[in-house]
Amino acid sequence: MLRLIGLIPLLPVAGVVINGLFGRRLSRRAVGLVACAAVGAALALSIGAVVQLAALPEGERSFEVSLGSWLPLGSIDGREVGIDWGFALDPLSALLLLVVTGVGFLIHVYSVGYMAHEPDVARFFVYMNLFMAMMCTLVLASNLAVLFVGWEGVGLCSYLLIGFFYDRPFDERTGLSCADAGRKAFIVNRIGDLAFLIGMLYLLLEFGTLHIGELGRAIGAGHASEAFLTGAGLLLFFGACGKSAQIPLYVWLPDAMAGPTPVSALIHAATMVTAGVYMVCRMSALYSAAPEALAVVASVGALTALYAATMGLTATDIKKVLAYSTVSQLGYMFAAAGVGAYTAAMFHLMTHAFFKALLFLGAGSVIHALHGEQDIERMGGLRSKLPRTFWTFGTATLAIAGIFPLAGFFSKDEILWSAWSTGHRAVWGLLLLAAIVTAFYMTRLAWLVFCGEFRGSAATWGRVHESPASMTVPLALLALLSIGGGWIGIPKVLAAGADINVVHHWLAPAITPVGGAAVHGAAQGGSAGSAGRGEHGAGDEFGAGTGFDEEGEFGSGGASGTGGERGAAGEFGAEGAHAVGAEHGAAEELALIALALVAAVAGILLALAIYRRAGVAQRLARQSGPVYTLLRNLYWVDELYDAAIVQPFYRISRISGAFDRWVVDGLVNAAGVGAEITGHVVKLFQTGFVRNYALMFLLGAVAILYYLATV
């Protein structure tokens, strides 16, 4: 099975081919069946592969296949450079692969129900399958070039799917149609992708390879200057900002909600938007070697987390609320990666995939039930009508708010802890605030939708109905995942000292922590960083200590490409303060956990307090005055971009357009006229009598023949 990973991206392509060619002739159910089967097969194959991977001893849990050379680039300053069409499966990609195919499969099943009343389903599923294929390519890519293919591919699919209802209007505030939304997403992503491409090419020129593993080794060997690495890292990160909707390129994601809800769930919540985070973790070797870049990542992430969350406060479109929440959660992940806790980032990525997909699907179910109504101002009290949706949605809400013991709790808490313990207190603060806000607006959302009085028309109320099984079953499954999904990452302190944090042991080999030190350092939430510091000398002891706990494992695991001897150094650094460090860290961590919980609960209660009784919210809005309008209009960022970038661009375009029309076309026309004049002369030869032509022909032939015979 491991050898077959090349097939994983191809299986969905089969679905694409079948539905793409015969979709119009197949029945709706057949189309759905094909699509789900394709993805299901991919899922099965992935599970098989990952199981086999897990069976391998921890050291060599990395498998690569090359489907042959793709871009033989010749030699770049002396080195023979060629890019293979290579796939790699290692713990990191395995995790995301499972998430992608698993969630993807559930969402496909869900879509069968959701799209039941929509026009050309075939096209929809073709795009969806194509997306799955591209996403799998992205995840499995063993070198940046292939990753970029997937990267662009998912971008394309996202564009296609956002604009799926290309003929429908979307946003009355900005007056976008769905097609516009798609275009917006595409263009904004292009900006990021360009940066990504440039960064990629820089790496290629510097190291003569794009293979991620080799890059890691090359960087670890310390050939490249830190400045260069920082630059490359930032470029790549800018690309990630585009794909994962971070400041300043987040604007497309809210509008991406123009797509059908399953799409929002799959692409704009669970998988594609997390590609950026994945990329950063994948390139951990690079980022760990470039602290400045990492700092930028962290700060951007943290800022986005809070910023987007605040915008979520006032949005009234159910899906937009979720969109902002997605942006902010992505901010969380970047923040985690930024403080060096890549594992935490991936962990949160996974749990987030579960509960955010669940939230979207729940929202979809609501919209489905209300026949396309998306404005929460016209919802309410749906709980009685949609019990299943309510319960699952509720679960997800608690999960994202970070209530113990749901998935969100563990991952979020871990991020907070890593931020704190690595000394990024500011990041920690922002994230904590974001957590409160998150809890608040999620509760608001849930309440406005499911509780209180129904604010829509009675007619609608009459027609509300619970969704079919094909939708509710995935909901249920995802609910289970968002409850239990976090238990694979239970921190030590809560496990009474027992080390049952599966995620870390799993991911460790694929991660290069900051300073390349003790791989398992991340076990206690990003203390990897501090362990690294321990090695640098200026370390705070509990980090080093906790880092030390894992040294033994690291020594045996021995999977880090680079940090061998440094790990040892870390060990020495940790030696002394080991005993004190452990429980000191534990106590502090417990305190932080409690704090996070309190924050979440506070947010929830506050929301309830405000929205339980009607009118309170409105009064609040009136009193807060400018703040409210600011939020309501999303800080006028769209308008800002429009004025600062789009309009000038249009003006330039008009000028160059004029140039083209008068100068370029002028030349062309001149050529045309010239040809015409010549034609008027030459046409005299064309008598229309075949035999004259033959005669001319013959004369020419005779002339040539004479020439040949004489000369």
Partner: protein, 101 residues
């Protein structure tokens, strides 16, 4: 002038010239086609003569191809003539001077 490469080539040249004359002087489309056939055959003759002269089969192979080609050409040409005749009720090429300015 005895039987030999030169004389045979001369004959083929004469035949070719005759074919050309036909193309130039004849007006019936089919006749022109036939004249073209004559030209092709003159070429064939030259080919075969060369093949014989150099004792090599290639020339004959080319003749083989030319004959096949001629078959194709005749088929299409005649089809065109038929279509033409349906259209204009005659095969006189001088009446087909539509394609001029």
């Amino acid at each position: 002038m005895a039987f030999g490469p030169q004389s045979v080539l001369a004959v083929s040249a004469v035949l070719f010239a005759l074919g050309v004359l036909g193309v130039l002087l004849r007006r019936g489309a089919i006749l022109i086609l036939m004249s073209v056939e004559i030209m092709l055959n003159a070429a064939n003759l030259a080919f075969v003569s060369f093949a014989r002269q150099h004792d090599h089969a290639e020339g004959q192979i080319y003749v083989f191809f030319v004959i096949t080609l001629a078959a194709a050409e005749a088929a299409v040409g005649l089809a065109i003539v038929i279509a033409l005749f349906r259209l204009r009720g005659s095969t006189d090429v001088d009446e087909l001077s539509l394609l001029k300015w």
